[in-house]
Symmetry: C2
DNA sequence: ACGGTCTGTCGAACCGGTTGGACGGAGAGC
DNA sequence: GCTCTCCGTCCAACCGGTTCGACAGACCGT
């Protein structure tokens, strides 16, 4: 069931079948009809490997994810599914590759083996070796998040600094004086994880502008850590009346800690931050927070990548998204 | 930078380079040394498409996921990451393809285009057209979950019926008389989604054995539905003192409903079921529940698939996992 | 000295597509 | 009636690997 077989049965040459399929040269309607008939009858579809070899492109993208050991957050997971969907609408397949840890072999295989036409890189660090590797290999890529000094590169990101600033201003408007930022884990911060660093910067900047007393803490990405973290905050800084967070995984722990401390949200304590809408809505009460627009980011990333593959010489483009903050019910006026 | 270039620089023929790389025929140590030198120097790696074409296999698996629109549950997501990791340890790549909805083109592309050596199918329905399609195409595949009458097929599943039965016995042991099963959405049940149907069967069976009054309700996969669902239960059957569930997405809503009703868990009400450990631990209080062993299932599925690819004639194998129930703190003796 | 095995290497065919150049025939222009 | 296009088709080369059969030379036993 290859192209030669189709050609034989339709009584034409292999190239004619190819042209009938691709439309790259005219084929008489009568011939086209016969060819399509045979194709339908046999359920033929060109062999992807052969086509990739001949065309020099695989019609496949790679999405590089962090290893499973470091659990994916809800935002990231929504993103993976959305990338797959966005790629599917353009008839592209998505190869999922882990990276980091012991998985450098997978990454290397993708990069040097010409397995894919382009790469989407998640979880970018401010200084990321994979970026260099891809540049050196001359493989088109788009990063989710951007490196510290994104010279000429393609990326999509959420403006964490701006969003966190807005959260702080929102809390200041409500009269809060003492606020805390519950960041991601200190390992991530130490590794130079952009969203964590930029959130922290935006937090301190806005707090400074509004004359608030600002504290920041790191918190491992799990419920238990969220609980411990919040209790630490209460004991060290009992005057704090509001928290801003980007740590989704810690939320259940925060919830439990608030309950245990007998604090009512938003009467006694306010919470906001950048949180996947699904989780924000699952919180009790629903969180007033900036929703990370995973689908839009995915669509943008795929489009940028496709553009770059089509014209590798094009001048790099990027997108910095700043979604609105959804006012739900986890923030309220400070009470004393 | 292809194999011919390497051969030229090392002063040998292309086939010798190929044999040096694959080890399928002996090559003198001196020749091998020269070849490896050139390869290291140029950073050569065989073109994956060419190799796939020649060998007739792609060293790639496909993981078919439900469309993003139907949001993946936590269990499913952990499973995706684990499959990728398990495949990576065998130097296999994973192609992620959506299916259902408008994505049949993607699925067709995978199946007929010989893009992959085998397929892992998630979210199997009791009577699933994709299974037929794969059988007809003669493509090796493993299903997560099994069809109603799995003749000779390869699959991995969790024994929902047995686990739910154990949950019911556990509640009966604690003295509960009136129990309810909070199932997945009625669309899924109507579509013939195995875990939902088997849970229901196991629930009723065990309740019958122990003489309990058993009710079952369907609940859409989202927090709001969980809340509404629980309030419906309380108003229709106020005598119910314990719930069993497999609906992870509804948990936050359940939590909120319990809180709103002023019910303390486990003093006033007990909850158990089959729930991803991550979510079970995030609940307040932590749920006594059966943890779905996503990593183990993933590893098993990949291994079975690899085995099947190596020997398509082998007699099908399968695995029905029955993980232990983790005793946390969401169940207690019935009080009256 | 001779046939036989064994080792290392090479040439050529093959996997299944795409694509550029050539070519035959029909129709148009003169 | 003759050339000139243009349309539709075919042939052959190519993409970059793998693998089979052949073969030269070293080594063995007799």
């Amino acid at each position: 069931m290859n192209i030669g077989e189709i050609a034989k049965r339709a009584g034409v040459s292999r190239s004619t079948v190819s042209y009938a399929l691709s439309g790259k040269r005219p084929v008489s309607t009568e011939t086209a009809r016969r060819i399509n008939e045979v194709i339908d009858e046999l359920g033929y579809r060109p062999n992807a490997s052969a086509r990739a070899l001949a065309e020099g492109r695989t019609r496949t993208l790679s999405l590089v994810i962090p290893p499973a050991s470091r659990r994916l957050t809800d935002v990231q997971l929504g993103f993976v599914a959305s990338v797959v969907e966005a790629a599917a609408t353009q008839d592209l397949d998505v190869l999922l590759s882990p990276s980091g840890g012991d998985h450098d072999r997978s990454f290397e295989r993708i990069v040097t083996g010409r397995r894919v036409d382009g790469v989407i890189l998640m979880e970018i660090l401010l200084d990321d070796p994979r970026v260099e590797r891809l540049e050196q290999a001359g493989l088109p890529f788009v990063t989710i998040g951007h490196v510290e000094h994104p010279g000429a590169s393609w990326w999509v990101d959420v403006d964490y600094a701006a969003l966190i600033r807005r959260c702080v201003h929102h809390l200041a408007d409500l009269g809060h004086q003492d606020v805390v930022l519950i960041n991601r884990s200190d390992e991530l911060v130490a590794a130079g994880y952009g969203p964590a660093l930029r959130s922290s910067a935006g937090f301190l900047e806005a707090a400074g502008e509004r004359g608030l007393t600002a504290r920041t803490v790191c918190c491992a990405d799990e419920p238990a850590a969220g609980l411990a973290c919040f209790e630490g905050i209460r004991s060290r800084w009992p005057e704090v009346t509001a928290a801003v967070t980007i740590n989704e995984a810690a939320l259940p722990g925060l919830q439990r800690a608030l309950h245990r401390a007998g604090l009512d949200v938003p009467r006694d304590f306010s919470i906001t931050g950048v949180i996947a809408s699904r989780l924000a809505e699952g919180f009790h009460p629903p969180l007033t927070a900036a929703d990370v627009p995973a689908e839009e980011m995915a669509r943008l990333a795929v489009n940028l990548l496709v553009e770059q593959i089509a014209d590798p010489g094009a001048t790099p483009r990027n997108a910095l998204l700043e979604p609105a903050i959804s006012l739900r019910s986890s923030t309220g006026a400070r009470r004393r």
